[in-house]
């Protein structure tokens, strides 16, 4: 969230209201040209698909899970992590041939698609948090989750068994808004892209 605000401000969007402590859900830029709403990550694709929000910032993991009809226009390059299959190291060789694997995850769609693609039949167990508990308690054989540093996995004695894909924050745009409000939206996308590229280059140099 801080990083999203940071990029928006660098792109010239005044986010002062957002940074003030409050319980408000709606925020405006001082010129009232842009209205911002704070929603749960899983709800970002929904708001944007319905066109309630023209644009949204959300993790690639959520986009993969929700499978909404959206334009995914920029990689904002923050919030980087990996979607992985993880489990106990001793299962590294065994679980692959296991005919019925139980998978605990916050991402049932991603997990289902991933294993379907691999031709493996699995039982998906949807959890809402602390997915690592799955293998620890015996609820599941493995988990599908995002991993940033891998520390949580390590502390629980789990290792990455397979990498599914890389994840980072993305800028998504409603399909109609991009066309009907093209001038305003395109300008903002270009500004944000410039900021992201500058930062990326800054890191390299």
């Amino acid at each position: 969230m801080e990083q999203a605000i940071d990029i928006l401000e660098a792109a010239g969007v005044d986010c002062r209201q957002l940074k003030e402590p409050s319980r408000k859900l709606f925020f405006f830029t001082p010129d009232r040209q842009i209205r911002m709403i704070l929603v749960k990550p899983n709800d970002v694709p929904t708001y944007v698909e319905y066109g309630i929000a023209d644009m949204g910032i959300v993790g690639k993991d959520t986009l993969l899970e929700e499978e909404r009809l959206l334009y995914e226009m920029l990689d904002l390059k923050f919030g980087r992590c990996k979607l992985v299959v993880a489990g106990f190291p001793e299962k590294r060789d065994v679980w692959i041939t296991h005919s019925h694997t139980r998978v605990a995850t916050k991402y049932p769609n991603i997990a289902r698609n991933y294993f379907l693609h691999k031709g493996k039949s699995v039982e998906i167990i949807k959890l809402n948090g602390s997915v690592e508990l799955g293998p620890l308690t015996g609820l599941s054989d493995v988990i599908v989750d995002i991993v940033e540093s891998g520390r949580t996995l390590k502390e629980n004695g789990l290792v990455i068994l397979e990498e599914i894909c890389s994840v980072s924050a993305r800028l998504v745009v409603n399909r109609v808004s991009l066309k009907m409000k093209n001038r305003e939206i395109k300008a903002l996308i270009d500004d944000i892209q410039r900021v992201v590229e500058e930062r990326e280059n800054g890191k390299v140099n």
Partner: protein
């Protein structure tokens, strides 16, 4: 637990209560009249069809999306997920000898599971038209112009028709010689305007830099007619150039009709490209985050039903129109009854004659049938905003009252 669902509706379907139903019917009447006056004939096909009708060579609707039934012989039936394919079936069979061009239209429900549209409706009221037998750009322009004219007839404001051409994309991938999985990946990335992933994916492919560059720019090729010029500059492939020429021709005709101000372009519009074979388009409006209509050219479909015919058409979602028009303040309440008729003992015959006469004059009439005996006809009329009451008295006297309604 029998009967526990008695008071409920299955997911994805709705009741249309009087006010919404009235507006739906008004819209459908406008559409029917407009298509009819434009020389199109209405056609009706059954809601139930064989699954095979929709399971084409390269099916454009996934089988998971279809409602299925089994007939007594064990064959699979579906609730039609689309009406274009049944029309192709009719044109290829029962109308196989009808002279061309064929202009047909329909109004009806289609059924799909899944995320068919943002509202997740499973029963979707559609209206659409098909122009069969003409491959010239005039036919494509006629269909796009019909969509524009229809929205104008309906009083829709601030809408746009976004035009693409799938052959442009097909020309590129043919030249590149990619396998099906690669094509699908690229198509999906372009359709999502996902530039970064597209760049990464293209980088790995052993295809010419020139094709890579054009594919990479495809998601950005949207906007006014300037993008057609941009696309022309970077296209050497004859199929791509022909696709652009085709858009130019259609655009030229739309200009003649004075409709160019409603038109934008997007060469990165590459959905359903197994089905479409040329110009494709979507209608959008500021009020709605998803398209209200869609269509395009599908020259290969009808041949699957035994008659090789070029064809183009579009369908519009009635519920989406209702929502867009409501947000633009264009919906109405059901008009009230014009005259309340009260017949006292022995006067029924005279009263009923009057009602018949008024109906012939296009007035809405209602017989006074009080549920609560204490209510007077005048109070009832006031409550229901009925401006006129005619009372047939026992002594054959007829009294008319005008009700003041604020």
């Amino acid at each position: 637990m029998l009967g526990k669902l008695k008071l409920r509706l299955p997911e994805g379907v709705q009741d249309y209560l009087p006010d919404e139903c009235y507006n739906k019917r008004e819209i459908e009447d406008t559409i029917r009249r407009f298509f009819y006056l434009s020389g199109y004939n209405e056609i009706e096909t059954p809601i139930i069809e064989f699954f095979d009708v929709f399971a084409g060579v390269k099916p454009s609707i996934e089988q998971e999306q279809m409602f299925k039934l089994i007939d007594p012989e064990g064959r699979i039936l579906v609730l039609r997920p689309d009406i274009t394919m049944p029309i192709a079936r009719v044109v290829g069979t029962k109308m196989a000898n009808d002279p061309l061009p064929l202009r047909l239209f329909y109004l009806g429900n289609v059924y799909r599971y899944g995320n068919f549209q943002a509202g997740k409706q499973r029963e979707v009221a559609q209206a659409g038209m098909e122009l069969l037998g003409v491959s010239d750009p005039e036919a494509d322009a006629e269909v796009v112009a019909m969509a524009i004219q229809l929205f104008l007839e309906l009083g829709l404001k601030e809408f746009q028709i976004d035009i693409g051409q799938v052959e442009f994309f097909k020309g590129l991938i043919e030249e590149a010689g990619l396998v099906q999985e690669e094509v699908e990946e690229i198509r999906s990335l372009i359709d999502h305007k996902n530039m970064l992933a597209l760049e990464m994916f293209l980088k790995k492919l052993p295809i010419s830099e020139q094709i890579k560059d054009t594919l990479y720019r495809l998601p950005q090729l949207y906007g006014d007619s300037q993008i057609l010029e941009d696309a022309m500059k970077i296209s050497r492939n004859p199929k791509c150039r022909a696709a652009l020429e085709n858009i130019y021709q259609v655009y030229g005709i739309l200009k003649d009709y004075g409709f160019d101000r409603f038109v934008t372009f997007d060469l990165g519009m590459v959905h359903s490209f197994n089905f479409y074979t040329g110009i494709i388009f979507r209608g959008i409006t500021r009020e709605l985050g998803y398209p209200i209509c869609g269509g395009g050219r599908y020259d290969r479909l009808v041949s699957e039903f035994g008659r090789d015919l070029p064809a183009t058409g579009f369908a519009v979602g009635i519920k989406r129109l209702l929502i867009a028009l409501e947000r633009q303040g264009k919906l109405k309440q059901v008009p009230g009854v014009d005259v309340l008729v009260v017949a006292q003992d022995g006067q029924r015959r005279e009263a009923y004659h009057l009602m018949q006469r008024l109906k012939r004059q296009n007035m809405r009439v209602e017989m006074f049938l009080p549920v609560d005996s204490s209510i007077t006809p005048l109070d009832y009329a006031r409550q229901r905003c009925i401006p006129k009451v005619v009372e047939f008295k026992v002594n054959a006297e007829v009294i008319e009252y005008e009700i003041g309604i604020e």
